[in-house]
Symmetry: C2
Subunit: 555 residues, 2 copies
Amino acid sequence: MALRARALYDFVSENPGEISVVENEILTLYSEDVVDGWFEGTNSRGESGLFPASYVEILRTEEGFSVQGNGTAGNIYNPTTGSEYAYQVRGDLSSESTPQRHGYPTSQGSDDDWDDDWDDNPTTTTTTTHDPSVRQHKHQPSRANSVSSRGSGGPQARSSATVGKNLNRFSTFVKSGGEAFVLGEASGLVRDCDQICVVMGQFGPEWQENPHPFTCTIDDPTKQTKFKGMKSYMSYGLMPSHTQIPVNRRYKHFDWLYARLVERFPVISVPHLPEKQATGRFEEDFICKRRKGLIWWMNHMTSHPVLSRCDVFQHFLTCSSSDEKAWKQGKRKAEKDHLVGANFFLTIVPPAAPLDLQEVESKVDGFKTFTKKMDENIVQVNVTIGEFSRKQMTGFKKEYHKVGQAFRLLGQAFELDQQVYSVKLNQAMAFTGAAYETIGDYFAEQPRQDLDPVSDLLAIYQGHLANFPDIIHVQKGALTKAKESQKDKDVPAAHDIHERCNIISCATLAEIQHFHRTRVRDFKAQMQHYLQQQISFFQRITAKLEEALHMYEQA
Amino acid sequence: MALRARALYDFVSENPGEISVVENEILTLYSEDVVDGWFEGTNSRGESGLFPASYVEILRTEEGFSVQGNGTAGNIYNPTTGSEYAYQVRGDLSSESTPQRHGYPTSQGSDDDWDDDWDDNPTTTTTTTHDPSVRQHKHQPSRANSVSSRGSGGPQARSSATVGKNLNRFSTFVKSGGEAFVLGEASGLVRDCDQICVVMGQFGPEWQENPHPFTCTIDDPTKQTKFKGMKSYMSYGLMPSHTQIPVNRRYKHFDWLYARLVERFPVISVPHLPEKQATGRFEEDFICKRRKGLIWWMNHMTSHPVLSRCDVFQHFLTCSSSDEKAWKQGKRKAEKDHLVGANFFLTIVPPAAPLDLQEVESKVDGFKTFTKKMDENIVQVNVTIGEFSRKQMTGFKKEYHKVGQAFRLLGQAFELDQQVYSVKLNQAMAFTGAAYETIGDYFAEQPRQDLDPVSDLLAIYQGHLANFPDIIHVQKGALTKAKESQKDKDVPAAHDIHERCNIISCATLAEIQHFHRTRVRDFKAQMQHYLQQQISFFQRITAKLEEALHMYEQA
């Protein structure tokens, strides 16, 4: 049977290769592959070409295809097509469920070096082709309205009688879309490739590992200019290991990506970017610090099983820096991603056996205590190592310099005596003085080698720790709903709510598990690095002193 | 011809073995050996026995013996007796010439732990036998008066016409006896064994080396009590390498010895004793510090060619601690030593060729500049290392402790997560925390190992540097007299004054030479010790860190 779809809105072709479609028109698709947001197919007038995938809904009521109103999320594979793009149509997609994680700005315009060199200029919009989001914008269709017309509005009305909505519409649980999902109000198309599997590991639920792990290096940024040198900015050279094709990205690109990720993944801790800075952007120290922060950020991104694989990150890593058109297409697509917020949970495929929610609660509570303690202690540790760093660069350096000068002074007094047998001693004393001055310099330079990286590590973990209260809040909200529904066994949706709470719990525990593993990995590596640096530092001092001692053998 | 002597004062025998003598009585001596201050001989009444050597003057006008009024100092050996106690009778011995080096107290009673357990108690004086000083005290004869009666008063009257005495009778030049010697007013018996040779070495005049060098260790002091535990004091165990017989001495014995040496040797820098302290004498820190100071002092004593050989020091080192009588005899003898002050210069045997006094002046001036600079710089160095020491014991320790606590804190937060894969990391972090606390302790303990000994060294050199202005002053005074006498070629004593100035100059330059050699030796050794300690300190730190690093390999 041919693959068919129904147009949800009018679309007027403007470029060669596109075809126009009319609302409710039945279309035949050549394949269910979405290429850059476009389907290829034939309309009712026999015209063949491209039309926006988001403007249509696939019709699949027979042979493994189903229109799911408020079904539980599950990996539904299409055996007839074998395609990786099997779709699920699920419930309601509310436009209000786009999450904006509070506590971290995701605006695109707040950074100083964020300017419009790759944002579409409103006046050039019409020149953009093959970009369904732009067209949709022109048509201004309400996705929520159109989908709700086919979604089952029932659950909301039904559940509101016994398991009501939170009164606080600004709570993270509500804003993240967690509530909407639990109450069965989320609905959207989920392709196989969008599915995120949680598997049961040795230590509980965990994200399914990325079968194709990769890393990405970030080079020293280079200063670029535009507008004939009127404006300058720093560009970072990225080299993903899986493509081996370098791309250049600016901080604002990172910032944009970050905003996409935050709205896309409500219970995943997206690593914070290194802090923005309005002034001194081109100063070496700041550039170096930001780069190190970006490297940490990138490592956390590439080592996250979910974040590392998501489309927008892949687009960021792989889209050619010189292909502006491709970049913009990907950008539009990401910004129009419907699997954000509540719909994100539709993509979660939990392990077969549901979790014991009481056990989940205890685990999450334990983690809450853990994060609180770790956050508090990191604050103290930061103060300590900041102070220690400062002391080494000032006080310690000064003390060793002064001792060096003291030995020099003695040597200088001794030099007034021109006895032959005194000359070698005088030289040795002068050398010792210089050696201690050098050791003072060693102390001053050392924090950059060992304490600064620890500081960078703590910074990225402070970011994660700031994310978790919201993540925990979403899980707690879901759990509360599940408990409420269980109180009244007559609530028909109780089972569904419980299952959805299980999904959120699985995702949350998987993320917690990932956090712990990464934490153990990072802190182990960082402590090793720190100690190695310290050892080599003290060895350098020892070598310098041995050099000085050697001078006296000849004295 | 029999050896004869004339009694200068009455002496009434009080004990078996002694004989009485009457002023001006002619006595026959069995030998010119003075045994503990006593001669053995026969008086005019035919009684044979002991009488105080200081109560008589030997009569020797024939056969190599001479009564020298103002002879230049020279090694006059008695070929007829072959005795090591060849005497010279030289000029006037004034009691006012007993030097008391200003700037350092030489009193015997100012130290708290100085008490009378070995001083003669006035009530027991009469029980003391064979101690001429006690008898002399009873007769209260004025040595100055009696000797001046036979000394040639001429030179003083003669020289005062052209090369006069300093108006400032409190100047060091005058007080040290330097002036009296230069003006030919010193006179005394100089035995061969009292002679101090200055030889011409590679780098100028130097003290003839001690042919039998030795060292002396000082053990930890032990607390002794007396008067049935009513009074307690610290006693130091000394072990001279040349006798290998241990003796016990108290601080007050050192103090008494110091006073003898200072009055005995006007142009020798007698090392200062470690500072006295009225309170906390039995506290471990003070005891340890004083002992270390005494060890330095002892090393400077034993390594000085003149000081190490002198009678009073040998008595101090070798007299049995249990033989109170022998100790007291030696003590009396030392206190009655007539070769102090001006007479000290009589003992100096200069090299055959006289020095170029202009060259001497330039050398002494150079040394003056040197000592001034060294003294100034030591003050600064002392401040620096004192501060550095304090910083390590407080600030550095605190900083490393805080870093240790920071790592512990992180580890403690981590311990809230009971993941199996986290346990080893948590242990490693706790270990790292403890390691840094230990390193903090290392820093606090280190100054005792390396900076304190440097401080001790500087202290003993500050003592020497405080001595040298006086020594230089004596030489300068002599030089001025020599210059004055040269202006008027008619001054009959000009040649003698020049020769005596040469003696003082030789002694001064020899002492300067000795100072420089000792300085180079001491500072080389101390800097080596300091650097070795520092190296081992940093190696200990490195080892501790390596231990910590090793913990992570298993994490």
